[in-house]
Assembly symmetry: C2
Homo-oligomer: 850 residues x 2
């Protein structure tokens, strides 16, 4: 390796030294801040990343000059200081400078045992980390002069060179070793996986040792002033008497930090030092504007602060801490908003598997809907309902779910499916109703006939066995795991109200049922952006009537069946309007193909024939006639509305009668009616003329006036391309990005699961486009649709209501495109509100955020 002799920059950390995170790393910068705050920080020298890189490339180090900065005969430690603490770094090395002479000096000041222990540990550490020898060679059970001799001999035997006695040489070797370790391939890959750039550098800090071992009160520890799980004020951490640094002698000597009936505490043993630590906490919190964990050492009764790092925290603690700092005026409300990651919110809304408990995973899948639940395995929706009726939580396990499983899903505590991806039926419904869900657990063998589940490791789970679904991690666990409750507390609401104050794009919820609507209200959605009416027809009593309608031979019979559905639909809408209290409700007219309402399999058809009193052959023939090769591209949406206009007429009547009914009680409702799967202007014209006629009839019959808005769900590429003429008849366009993605890619979300992983792994698609909006393709269609629509009708309301609605990326896209709102499943509303606020704040720049 080539030798360079650059000017190897290094700086003693003082309040005025030029130390920057980007050059010297986060630890050096943090130590300088502590120095500026007059914390008792041991003398520290910072080596910037440029110097460390030069060392790695072979530059020689003037360690004598560095050691000279620490006074006579110092012992020092070297710690990594990358730009970002998440990037990791090589292990810290303590007690550099120890040799036979200084060992003798230590015996005098700290006693034989401490001196032997420290010397032996240094030899081990140097041999392992610097000379890269096998750690097992240096395992010595009891420190002693003999053990030290053995270790030195082992080193020499292996290295064919005596253990270095010169402290400067020791330091040089440690620095070179750490600098090179940073450049190793595995280290580079590891830190890049955590987001480090390819050229991310490593700073190093050389710090005078404070021993924490010796006479009088000596020890080391770390103290936090909040609970890292809840974020509430509480002193937590640890303290060990006669110990050194983080990786030192913790085998015994642990005492509590605060007064505790179970044993001694630092607060009692050294009240002055404890008070000093509390003071450090207050200073760091107010001046560093963050909850810090302080790493400290006490030597001979004197406190030294070695380091301070941001308290590692659970999402709920993070939110609580941000709100508390803002409440105390330490940071602004906007900064508090920015400090909470939108993606961290979903798990606050649900039960979670307690990370501190045991975890017996039997299969991995796709984390389709967050939260966790425990229950007994069931293999059918009927069994799920029976279990719910008995009051027993159950986990519905299916190959995949279909619309007829919806009642079963509502009855289950969680869902596990063998097939499907992020936007499969199970995943979409589960997110919609806040049900923990794992899909695509394709390593499972689901044996429906014998009602059992075979895990990849061969374990067999039978119906009735208890398992836990962790929808946040995408895992299924054997047995009942320990749980954490949801965290919808005052801090949560406080932070989101601050977010709403700066947000500049609307957030609505997709809500099909009164329960959904209630959840949407709980999460302060600004209305319903998508109410899918078809789910209303899967309820038992309605399904029967629905099927009668499907089997009606004449328009008259069909109308008779629909007339029986009308009061039920009206009641649905009255409930929704009541819950939403005047907030906008966008109702999508009937969308799915009719065959979804028929039972599957011969047995189901036989039951149906019996129920409807029709020959089985007639039922089978109709079912065959309705079956489709590609249901996604078939007779559904507005196509049904055009061919069988009675269905939309019934729905419009129900909507308007509900509007009148709720209006009579004093609430002004302006319903929004949305036409699905449009591909041509004329479809909108036809439906509009029918709906207008129904409205006129209801106005005349009830003698009450009301307004409504008619709009189009843009789900086909053609609707986006023709948005200009479609907007002639639509007062809003809402982009259904699920279907639009399917059609733009020619990719069924139900069938994409089989190769999506391969595609994402090979970088064919940068992301699953059903998960992250494809800005290049689908996004361009959104922009085309929005531009052309607004060119026709400048006051056109624009929104998206697909699964992407809650994603920060989609929200950013819609904000840039000037959309009015996004709509997402109720449980994603908080995340969307917060993400939108982040975007608004980031657009304003740092002034405001600081």
């Amino acid at each position: 390796m080539q030798k360079h002799d650059p000017i190897l920059d290094h700086a003693l950390i003082t309040p005025s030294a030029r130390i920057a995170t980007v050059t010297h790393g986060w630890r050096a910068k943090c130590l300088q801040r502590l120095v500026r705050l007059d914390m008792p920080v041991p003398r520290t020298v910072a080596l910037p990343a440029g110097t460390v890189r030069a060392i790695a490339q072979g530059a020689s180090v003037d360690s004598d000059a560095i050691l000279a900065l620490f006074g006579p005969a110092p012992l020092v430690s070297v710690r990594p200081s990358p730009e970002n603490p998440d990037w990791g770094g090589p292990a810290t090395v303590l007690n550099i400078g120890l040799n036979a002479a200084r060992h003798r000096a230590l015996v005098a000041t700290h006693g034989v045992e401490a001196a032997d222990t420290l010397y032996l540990r240094f030899i081990q550490s140097y041999a392992t980390h610097v000379a890269r020898l096998d750690p097992e060679m240096f395992d010595a059970p009891v420190p002693s002069a003999e053990a030290i001799r053995d270790a030195l001999a082992a080193y020499e035997a292996e290295m064919e060179d005596p253990f270095p006695e010169d402290p400067a040489r020791q330091l040089s070797e440690v620095l070179r070793s750490m600098a090179r370790a940073w450049e190793g391939t595995s280290a580079r890959l590891l830190r890049q996986a955590k987001g480090a750039p390819e050229d991310g550098g490593l700073g190093l800090v050389v710090q005078a040792m404070v021993q924490g071992i010796g006479l009088g009160i000596s020890g080391s520890g770390a103290i936090r002033f909040v609970d890292p799980v809840t974020g509430l004020p509480q002193v937590t951490g640890h303290y060990h008497e006669q110990s050194q640094g983080r990786d030192a002698l913790r085998r015994d000597g642990a005492i509590y930090l605060t007064r505790d009936p179970r044993g001694l505490s630092l607060q009692e043993v050294a009240p002055g030092i404890f008070a000093q630590l509390l003071g450090c906490g207050t200073v760091t919190r107010t001046r560093l504007r963050e909850e810090m964990e302080i790493e400290f050492t006490i030597e001979h009764g004197r406190l030294a602060v070695l380091d301070a790092i941001k308290v590692a925290r659970s999402p709920r603690a993070g939110l609580r801490i941000a709100v508390s700092l803002a409440d105390d005026g330490i940071i602004t409300r906007n900064e508090a908003v920015l400090r909470v990651e939108p993606g961290s919110l979903p798990e606050l809304l649900h039960h979670q598997v307690d990370p501190r408990g045991p975890r017996d995973r039997f299969v991995r899948g796709i984390a389709a809907s967050p939260g966790a639940a425990t229950g007994r395995i069931v293999f059918s929706s009927d069994a799920a309902q029976a279990s719910a009726a008995r009051g027993e939580p159950c986990i519905l396990v299916r190959r995949e779910t279909a619309p007829e499983d919806i009642r079963g899903m509502h009855s289950a505590a969680a869902v596990l499916t063998e097939r499907g991806g992020m936007t499969s039926h199970a995943a979409v419904i589960a997110r919609g109703i806040g049900l923990p869900c794992v899909v695509g657990a394709s390593d499972l063998r689901l044996d429906t006939r014998d009602r059992r589940l075979v895990a990849p490791d061969g374990r067999i789970f039978a119906e009735g066995d208890i398992i836990t679904i962790d929808g946040t991690a995408g895992e299924a666990l054997a047995g009942a795991a320990d749980m954490l409750a949801p965290a919808l507390d005052d801090a949560f609401r406080q932070l989101l109200s601050w977010a709403d104050a700066v947000r500049d794009i609307g957030v609505r919820a997709n809500a099909d049922t009164p329960a959904d609507a209630q959840t949407a209200r709980t999460f302060a959605a600004q209305g319903i952006g998508l109410c899918r009416t078809e789910h209303m027809f899967f309820e038992e009593d309605r399904l029967v009537v629905m099927r009668e309608m499907i089997f009606a031979d004449t328009a008259k019979d069909r109308a008779a069946a629909l007339a029986r559905l009308l009061p039920m639909q009206r009641e649905d809408f009255i409930q929704l309007f009541d819950i939403m209290q005047g907030l906008p409700v966008c109702i999508r007219l009937f969308d799915p193909p009719l065959h979804e309402f028929l039972p599957r399999g011969r047995e189901g058809l036989r039951d149906l024939a019996e129920a409807l009193d029709i020959p089985l052959s007639a039922v089978t023939r109709r079912a065959e006639a309705l079956s489709e090769v590609n249901p996604m591209l078939g007779m559904r949406g507005v196509r049904l509305g055009v061919v069988l206009p009675e269905i939309y007429a019934m729905q419009a009547q129900a909507i308007f009668e509900a509007t009148v009914e709720v209006g009579r009680r004093g609430a002004a409702v302006v319903p929004e009616i949305m036409i699905p799967l449009v591909s041509a202007r004329r479809e909108v014209e036809l439906v509009k003329s029918h709906v207008d006629a129904v409205a006129a009839t209801v106005r005349i019959r009830t003698g009450r006036s009301f307004d409504y808005r008619l709009g189009v769900m843009v789900e086909t590429p053609r609707a986006a391309l023709r948005a200009g003429e479609i907007a002639q008849h639509a007062s809003f366009l809402s982009f259904g990005t699920n279907d639009l993605t399917q059609m733009t890619y020619g990719l069924s979300r139900d069938d994409a699961g089989r190769f999506m992983n391969t595609y994402v792994q090979q970088g064919v698609f940068p992301e699953d486009p059903f998960h992250i909006l494809d800005v290049d393709g689908v996004g361009e269609l959104l922009l085309i649709g929005a531009d052309r629509g607004r060119a026709t009708r400048p006051d056109l309301t624009l929104s998206i209501c697909g699964e992407h609605g809650g994603n920060p990326e989609s929200i950013a896209f819609c904000r840039r495109a000037g959309f009015d709102y996004v709509s997402c499943s109720p449980y994603r509303v908080p995340q969307a509100r917060l993400a939108a606020a982040h975007l608004a704040l980031l657009d304003r720049g740092c002034d405001d955020a600081g």
Copy 2:
């Protein structure tokens, strides 16, 4: 009704009179042309449409002035003369002016019987057409003085007014009646259905009567100089002695026009007049530049030409006549090209039901593939093959066809399906292989279990019954219909060679098999634009290996199966390259989902398990794993190519080895390899790197160099939107408009049949977009793709290869967009060549065409 007195324009037709088709109608204009050609046309007065409209609105007619133009005591006829002969018009009225006095005069000149007959007929005609009385009241079996009296009395009794004696009043009433008839609602709707504009007017011609009845040689007839079915020179027509006009006394007196052993002929009876008629034919043909049918009357041995109309002709006659006129220098070749409708060609390529024979239709459907064939009904592909093996033509009747029916279709003479539309599987394949096909015969009841077919009228057809499929008309006929043979003669080839001389866009054929390629050559396609390789794997021996590949557990087993397919594929391509003799061949890599290669139903799976020696459960499990909710949007096309790269590698190797093999024999082949279902650039990159690697290997192993072109089939909206970056790796883009239409509309062509009729009838879609390219939506994506592709790579080759490729509308679109070629099924190639020539000629303007 209001009375007007406008100046009622009318003109005596002379060589210099101002007569124009647009004002006076086609008949008036034609008569003027005949006058200019010195034909013996009786004196004629033309009333322009403005006059006729005024008359309908109540203007009074100066009939005295009109009659005065005909000399003393004339008898005249009035005939309709709309702008276009296709628009129809009111019935001709003859012998206006007949009254008691003129009846007496006629008795003197023409005899009692003729005079009575004419008078009685005039009374009947006037009463029926002008007074609108019931025709039955005037049915008189034998003309006589008594019959005339009765008729006049009946008229007077009914009208409470005597029959008008004044010739001027008669004429006025006839004119008014005809003018008003034109304005009637049903007349208007009828002519608008034939393309007349809303304000299309009616001219009328008043012509001096030539009686064709009387002493000496008298009679009337019509003569043509070509056979209207074949277009070959031949005198055809009819002549009746003692008859008048077209609707006169034809009950007897028919004699042949030309010498005939069966009886007397005009040629013998009046050789001078016959020669005069031949002369008229020569003059009209050369001067009117068209084959005309001449309507003539002979009165007392003197010829009068009453009218000349374009000979009604079959498509094959039309083509022959156009070529013959051009060969004789009467019209230009370009004009001959323009005179043949591209849409008339397909039926020349196939057998047709003879229009002159009886026709026993039992069901109507969609005319999915032109031509006609007779055979015995079979209900399965196996039965079709068995029938073919016995040498018996059969008609394959299916609910709908699937890829596994392809061999059955190849064995059948025609196909009839209960379901499907213009782009269903059956329709597409049938057009591709030139098989007559009717689909969507949804009024049929197909009873596959009892192997019978129930027609809407209750007739039952069993397996083995003989039926005829008329794919041109979209009808199925009971029994064996009379047939016309195809007309691929020298005139056909001549005309298309003239078309090719002016055409400025390429035409290739979609051809999957050597037979297709041979057809493509027969029709002078300029190469193969789409060779779908998957059809090659449905042949019996290959299907077995294909299934082995699908059931392979490891990549190694898969490769082993593919290695067995390799030589077969190579042989396929060698054959294609040999047939195409250096013309470009664009090969689409494997496209369909793998489950298409598995048998359907439990029985088929059991057979397969036996054949592959695998447990049935394993076969069922694999089949279930491969099944898809929306196969159109699933694991197919390049997705297979990316996930199972072995398939494309085998195909590329087969293509390159075939290229080398054919190259060794001296033919330079530059194969074009096309990647299907692309939606992202990276898909193209990945496949390209594999294909390039295979090419390098084959070059090294064979020691021969060759070139090839790699391109992309644009079938997803996203591929069109991202064409800019996709073109970085593609040297051509071919738009697959079938799939692109499906995805742009979100509409499966297999499922659209159920509502497409309703949609087109209600004007939701102006046309079935699978039939006529949707210029507004799909077309915009084509333009976007073309523009962006060419922006990246100016020499990018652009084409379409969907079902739309052969449509004149699509060809026009692609020409305007600067595409290089269109590709269509082989049987549509002639039509596409001609349509493209039309477009080029129409662009050049009339100068050239005239």
